[in-house]
């Protein structure tokens, strides 16, 4: 973490919570939790509402689909912490590691549903090129994706494109696979609240 305040600047109650998390999970406190809990009235409380609604709010997309979208946006942004975190959640949500690995390795050939593939392509372009146009969206609609589903996918983009930037700017520590397993279990049970 490049800012010492994000490691050590939290209040006493929050530090006690971090100690509890470490004791229960037997893993270091995830850096994203440190970010969200630092001056939460400035950023974290508001960001959690956006993220929980995008990832767990009502949607025709499954939780696994939305976690895969989060992993793909993170992959496009080259954000190692977030790729690993949301790949782990998607694998757990789908109970299908091969599907997630294939989609992230080669979106064009992966054995996934066409509406999901078209949506992931649009998200990748939006993340990489910072814009999409009406023709990009029409291709997604033509694949059978509803307007509402597109809006839901864009909400996932909003949450993770923001967090990717912060994870890399502040340099989140990237722990081992067991820590991401523990994180995935927590996020599936509790969401982002």
């Amino acid at each position: 973490m490049r800012l010492a305040i994000l490691d050590h600047g939290h209040g006493i109650g929050t530090k006690a919570l971090f100690a509890f998390i470490r004791a229960v999970s037997r893993q270091p406190t995830p850096e994203v939790v440190k970010l969200i809990m630092y001056l939460p009235d400035f950023f974290g409380t508001y960001m959690k509402k956006v993220t929980h609604e995008a990832m767990r709010g009502p949607s025709a997309w499954s939780v696994g689909d939305r976690e895969l979208m989060a992993a793909l946006v993170s992959q496009t942004n080259k954000c190692e912490f977030c790729i690993k975190a949301h790949t782990a959640v998607a694998v757990r949500a789908y109970r299908d590691e091969a599907k997630v690995s294939a989609a992230l390795a080669d979106l064009d050939t992966a054995a996934i549903e066409e509406p999901l593939r078209a949506t992931l392509r649009m998200l990748r372009k939006l993340t990489r090129e910072h814009a999409v146009d009406a023709n990009d969206v029409r291709a997604v609609l033509a694949a059978g994706v509803s307007r509402e589903q597109i809006e839901d996918a864009l909400a996932v983009f909003f949450a993770f494109d923001t967090i990717n930037r912060l994870a890399d700017a502040f340099e989140f520590f990237v722990p081992g696979p067991k820590a991401f397993e523990a994180g995935a279990k927590f996020l599936l049970a509790r969401g982002y609240r």
Partner: protein
């Protein structure tokens, strides 16, 4: 359908208009990635283009320019949310255009 519209608005309003350690003008400039000078402009440019390229030297330069860690935290948050908001708006406008002409 999920609906982040209100939550997104509340987030943006809070970071730009609420209390903070960084000046409102500085937070707004970071959000817009416009009007920032010197070492901060390099940091904010990286946050808004390829954030994985931010290095220790960018944060060190912001500190050397006299900013506290809290101010750097707020300014980087504003830059990240601002850039993502612009991209999100572009996509929502494309969705609007694509569905209007159907």
């Amino acid at each position: 359908m999920s609906n982040i519209r209100d939550a997104r608005k509340a987030l943006v309003t809070r970071i730009l208009e609420g209390d903070g350690k960084a000046a409102h003008t500085q937070r707004r400039a970071a959000f817009d990635n416009a009007g920032l000078a010197g070492p901060l402009s390099s940091l904010i440019n990286k946050v808004t283009t390829d954030a994985y390229q931010v290095g220790d030297e960018d944060i060190a330069a912001a500190r050397a320019a006299g900013l506290t860690e809290d101010q750097i935290f707020e300014i980087v948050v504003c830059a990240a949310v601002g850039q993502t908001t612009r991209q999100h708006d572009t996509a929502l406008a494309a969705l609007q255009a694509a569905t209007e002409k159907e």
